[in-house]
Structures are given as structure tokens and as C-alpha cells.
Symmetry: C2
Subunit: 238 residues, 2 copies
Amino acid sequence: MKRRLLLVSNSTLHGGGYLDHCQQNISHFFGKDVKKVLFVPYALHDRDAYTKTARDKFTSLGYELNGIHEALDPVSAVRKAEAIFIGGGNTFRLLKSLYDNELVTEIKRRVLEDGVPYMGSSAGTNVATVSINTTNDMPIVYPPSFSAIGLVPFNINPHYLDQDPKSRHMGETREQRITQYHEEPDTPCVLGLREGSMLLVEGNTATLLGTTSARLFTRGKPSLEYDPGSDLSFLLTQ
Amino acid sequence: MKRRLLLVSNSTLHGGGYLDHCQQNISHFFGKDVKKVLFVPYALHDRDAYTKTARDKFTSLGYELNGIHEALDPVSAVRKAEAIFIGGGNTFRLLKSLYDNELVTEIKRRVLEDGVPYMGSSAGTNVATVSINTTNDMPIVYPPSFSAIGLVPFNINPHYLDQDPKSRHMGETREQRITQYHEEPDTPCVLGLREGSMLLVEGNTATLLGTTSARLFTRGKPSLEYDPGSDLSFLLTQ
């Protein structure tokens, strides 16, 4: 399988600029063969402003970047893309726009069959997985399905957050929410990617990168911690 | 309009027991005419355990309480109900179950036409509004629609949370999430009910009760704060 994915938990780390914390990973991931990246800004309302932010960053790393909303035919833009980056924002808005523009199947085909490298950040990481059932976002629009692009056979919870023992807030913790998901039948593993971490997938190999550990939730089993550098390839064959 | 609603932000306040913080409001709301309350435990996985928790509390307040899942025919149970209480948990699971059991229209009819008093807590408050677009919950199941029972013409964000200026977490604040909702066209007002607050609706009168203030978000306008005791009846005629 030609699959190449860089799935980042968060676009901005506290105290840093946009994608600063993972810029070396981005350069290494896209390498020197990629010249131009197709950017999908659907998760935010102001697509032009978002594309400018992404373009500024990618230009500084030596890549040309174009917003898919600037193309006359988004499906054709995906068919021609050398590399794809889907940015963060609201996951519901993003997935609905991907369906509205008939891009879900096309992106899947390009990445899994043609080996086009795919980078996602936050919401863009959510939509790369089985479904958006484990997003943290507010459901501001109704997508035609929660099924996502399905580039990996598990789900991710980006911005994974540990319980704050000092909090007096009574809303569910992130762990409780994921446990509720696993009360439903036939639900896949959920990898909780803390801010600062990311998953690199090369074919059938998956490696945790970044500066923070990740927590893996499997239905009916205790959750497990993995440090940066861990081999998580077993998640790809479940 | 006969409508009578008690829409509570949260079931449990830090340091207290289940529904302790609003028990006087519950007694005052259901009064002495109501003998038996129909409880909807769909938002949690273990419906029996949840009904026991609610039953213990309501028994202590002098009311009989039956879980709707114990009835052979849930629609018939709603048709016969003297009073309805929908408890908190996962809003997506709750709304999906309400649709699966064909209860959305029936509950609306009973409350708005027959004047059956309706109490909601957290997710049970979300489903009483226009839609669940402003829930905080994880979308663990896919309901057939985000449209909810529609007992009021606005949305509520329960467990409303102010930004923590000390946080290093980069996920969106609650205010940013609601602002993203209002970037979408034709979206109604959102009342952010902090933990400890609740809304009492009697016909065309709405009053903020409890111990915390609430924040009102209106599309295209600055948000506004309201103290407990505020008359929010204007929200019912928008």
C-alpha cells in the first residue's frame, strides 16, 4: 500500500505560531519531490484568509500552496494534486463540505491508490479516520454522514486532554466521552493525540511523533499510554 | 400557550448530589398536582441504573417516577404522562433514541398543546430547543437529524464555560464554538447556561433561575450577560 499520512493533533501549540511545532515533520514528510500542496480550508468560514495563513507557512518551507476553493472544479483539483493538506477548524463543517463537493471518495482513492501524501491537522486529522464520531467540535452543521475518508481503520481524538483534577466543571471528561463512544457496538479504537503529538503513517507502518505521549482506547479494554517514537503499526491491521 | 418548562444546565453541581442544586425548583415546578413523572433515560447507556438514580431523587421529593424504557409502548407512555423529565448524558444518543422511538413529535404535542410540564437537564435541555447544534457532546452516534423537539425558538448551550485565561490548551473556547455556529446562515440565538443556572418557561414568560448568570449569543451582535432573576421572555417571541 502506497499510503503516506501525517496526522497532526493541533495546528498551533501554546506559545508558538501556526504549524511551528511540526514544521520539521512537514518538511520531512513532503520532502523535495513535492512542489505544490493542495490545501482544503473548508473547516473555517473565511477560506481566503485561512488559505493565506497556510500559504505563508508553506511558502516559508519551500512549497507552493493553493486553496481547493480557488479551483473551478475541486474534484479535478484533487485528481491533479501532488499532495493534500486538510486544515483544522470545525469538523462538521469540513466533512459536510467534503461531501457537498464529492471529494470523500476521490481523496481516498488518490491517497490509498495513487500514493498522494496526505497531511491533516485537527479536524483534517479527524476526517482522515473511520468517522468523525470522536471529534471535540460543536455540531454546527449536519453532514450527510459521520463516516469519513477512512485512510486508517481507527479513529483519532485530536487535542486529547487529561482530566484537570482542580476543575469544578461537571461536564464529561474526554476519557468519559470516548468511553461513551465505546459503549456503542462495533466501534473502532480511538487514539487520543495530545497537543504536540502526531502520527506518521508510511504504508503499513505507523509511528507516534512529536513531544507528547498518546493514549489508546480500545472497546472493552483498559486504555494504554504510548510515548513519542512508539511503533503503532498494529493499529493499521485491526 | 400552556407551555411549562424547566430547563436545567447541569444535573450535578460540584460538591453536591444528583439534582441537589435545583431540587427546590423541581418541587415548585411540578407542584402538588403532579403525582407521577415519566423519565427518559436514553442519554445514558445503562437505562435501569440511570432510572434508579432519578427515581431515588424524585421519590425523596414526593413524586413517583417511571422510566420510559420500562413501558411496552413509549409513545403511549408519553400520551398518558402527567409530567416528563429528560435527563442528561450524551445528546446525540438521546436525540437518536427519541427519533427511533417516534417520540419527538409526540412530546412536542403533549407539552405545547396539552400543557404537560417538561423538565430537561443538560442533554434533556438541549433536545427541548430548536436543535442540538450547540451541544458540547461527542457525536458518538448519528441521529437522523439535528432538529430537536422545538419547545422554544432558540438554542441553549448547557454547561456554558468561560475561557480559562491560564489554560495552555489550544482547542476552541466555548464562545469561539458558538461564534462558529453563528457564522452559518439563519441560526437562532444561543443561551449559554452556566452550571448552576436554569430557565423557567411558563407560557410566554421566561425567567433565568439559579445561582449563576447566563450569556446570550445572537448572530451578528455582541453577546450579553443576564443575572439570575432576569426576564428573558423576549427570547420566546423571536
